[in-house]
C-alpha cells in the first residue's frame, strides 16, 4: 500500500516524551479504522514506525495517533508541529472485539501508553453505553504526571467505573498506589465478561492471569501485542511470533492464542 500524505493539525503534549498528533489527510479522504488497529507512520525521509490509532472511530476524518519517543523516528514524530507533513500507511491489523461484548460486562485494563490503543474502543463503547452492562476501566501509570488523557478520564467516570493507580506517588496524589491487578473487580460473571488489556507485556500477562484466576476464560481476554514491525503487512517477518504475525494476526490477539508464547525465551 502506498503511503498517504497527512498534515499535522494539532499536537497535544501529555508528557515530555509522549504526544497525541491529530492528522488530516491532504486529499481530505477519511481513514476509517477499527479500534485497536495501527498505522505505519513517519516523517518523509525518515523511518516509519507502527503506531496505534488512538482517536475516535466515529471521526475518521481526523486521525489521532499517540506517540512515545523511544528512538529517532518516534522522537521526530513527537517533535512534530502543526503544518508538518507525515506519511501514513494503513490501517493495519486486528481490532478489539468490542461488538462481541454487547449485552455483557467489559473490564478494560490499560498500562502506561497502553491506554492509547484502548481509547478508540472506549470512545466507541461510550457512544453506545446502554448496549453494555458493567464497564470498568483500570488504568495504571508509572507516576501521576505520566497519566494520559487526564481530563477525559474525569469525563469517562460519569459513564463507567474508572480507577487509576500509579507505581510511585508524587506529593498531593490522592489516588491508588499499586498494580492494576490489585484493582480488578473481585468478582466477575465469567460467562458475560470480556477483558481488553494493553500495556507492557509483563503487565498484560499478570493482568490476564489475574482475570483467569477470577474465572474468566483465556478466550474472553484480548491483549494488544507489540513486536518489532517493519512492513506492517506480513512480508518481512520481523514481528513473527511462531506462527503468528503480529501485524496481521494482531496486534489484538486472544490471550488463549498467545499465552503459550509469552514466556518462551527468544520469541
Amino acid at each position: 500500500m502506498q503511503p498517504r500524505a497527512f498534515t499535522v493539525r494539532a499536537v497535544r503534549r501529555h508528557t515530555a516524551d509522549t504526544a497525541t498528533l491529530t492528522l488530516e489527510a491532504v486529499d481530505r479522504v477519511p481513514l476509517p479504522f477499527a479500534p485497536g488497529q495501527f498505522t505505519m507512520i513517519g516523517r518523509p525521509g525518515l523511518a516509519e514506525v507502527p503506531i496505534s490509532i488512538s482517536g475516535d472511530p466515529a471521526e475518521p476524518g481526523h486521525l489521532e495517533q499517540t506517540v512515545r519517543s523511544v528512538g529517532d523516528a518516534t522522537a521526530a514524530l513527537v517533535a512534530a508541529r502543526p503544518g508538518d507533513r507525515l506519511l501514513v500507511r494503513g490501517p493495519y491489523g486486528t481490532g478489539w472485539a468490542v461488538p462481541d461484548a454487547v449485552g455483557g460486562d467489559l473490564v478494560i485494563v490499560a498500562g502506561g501508553i497502553g491506554l492509547a490503543p484502548l481509547r478508540p474502543a472506549l470512545l466507541q463503547i461510550l457512544r453506545r453505553r446502554a448496549m453494555y452492562r458493567r464497564v470498568v476501566l483500570v488504568y495504571g501509570s508509572r507516576t501521576p504526571d505520566q497519566l494520559l488523557f487526564r481530563a477525559q478520564l474525569d469525563r469517562w467516570r460519569e459513564l463507567v467505573d474508572v480507577t487509576v493507580t500509579v507505581d510511585a506517588a508524587t506529593p498531593g496524589w490522592r489516588g491508588s498506589v499499586g498494580l492494576v491487578t490489585g484493582l480488578l473487580p473481585a468478582e466477575l460473571d465469567p460467562g458475560r465478561t470480556r477483558a481488553l488489556v494493553c500495556g507492557p507485556e509483563v503487565m498484560m500477562r499478570l493482568t490476564a492471569e489475574a482475570m483467569m484466576a477470577r474465572g474468566l476464560g483465556a478466550d474472553r481476554i484480548e491483549i494488544s501485542m507489540e513486536r518489532d514491525m517493519k512492513c506492517g503487512i506480513g512480508l518481512c517477518g520481523h514481528c513473527q511470533l511462531r506462527e503468528l504475525f503480529v501485524c496481521m494476526d494482531g496486534p489484538v490477539l486472544g490471550y488463549d492464542r498467545v499465552r503459550p508464547l509469552l514466556t518462551v525465551r527468544g520469541l
Binding site: G112, S141, Q146, V177, G182, P200
Partner: protein
C-alpha cells in the same frame, strides 16, 4: 462494643470462614472511622490492631526528611492494613493515613494473638488468609521495582 459477625463476614479476609472464627474475631473487633487526612497510626506506635478496610482508602506513608510523606502503598475497600502486629517487636514502621473518609474494622491484635496461642487451629486458618494478602503485596512491590512502564520495548 464488638462488631456484628455479619459485618466481619462481608470482608474478603473472612468470606467463607466458619462461625467460630467469625465469633472469636468479632469479639475482639470494633467499628472505626477516619476522616480525610486523619492519621490512623504512626511509625513507632505499638502495632496493636489489624485494620480491615470496609470503605475508603488508606495510604501507607514512609515519612522522610523534613516530614515529607512518601506514599508506598494504598489499601482500598476489602483490603487489610497493618501486618506488623504479626511480627515482633510489634511496632508500626509506616504511618497509615486515611486519604478519604474511611470506615474499617479494627481487630485487637494482642487479644487475637493470645487466642491463637490457645487455639492454634484458628490461627492457622487466619494466617493462611493473611499470608495470601502478604504475598500479593510482595508481588506488587517486586513488579513495581521492575518499572515496567519505564522500559522501552
Amino acid at each position: 462494643m464488638a462488631v456484628p459477625r455479619e459485618l466481619l463476614a462481608e470482608h474478603p479476609l473472612f468470606v467463607g470462614l466458619n462461625d467460630e472464627v467469625l465469633s472469636v474475631t468479632a469479639d475482639c473487633a470494633v467499628d472505626v472511622r477516619a476522616g480525610a487526612d486523619e492519621i490512623v497510626f504512626r511509625t513507632g506506635d505499638p502495632a496493636d490492631r489489624c485494620y480491615l478496610v470496609l470503605r475508603g482508602r488508606i495510604a501507607l506513608d514512609l515519612v522522610a526528611e523534613g516530614g515529607e510523606r512518601l506514599v508506598v502503598d494504598t489499601v482500598d475497600d476489602g483490603g487489610v492494613v497493618g501486618l506488623a502486629w504479626l511480627v515482633p517487636p510489634y511496632r508500626w514502621y509506616l504511618d497509615a493515613r486515611a486519604v478519604e473518609p474511611t470506615s474499617a474494622i479494627a481487630v485487637d491484635a494482642v487479644r487475637l494473638r493470645a487466642l491463637w496461642d490457645q487455639h492454634p487451629g484458628l490461627g492457622y486458618v487466619m494466617l493462611r488468609r493473611l499470608v495470601a494478602a502478604m504475598y500479593e503485596r510482595m508481588q506488587s512491590a517486586r513488579v513495581r521495582l521492575l518499572d515496567v512502564y519505564g522500559r522501552h520495548t
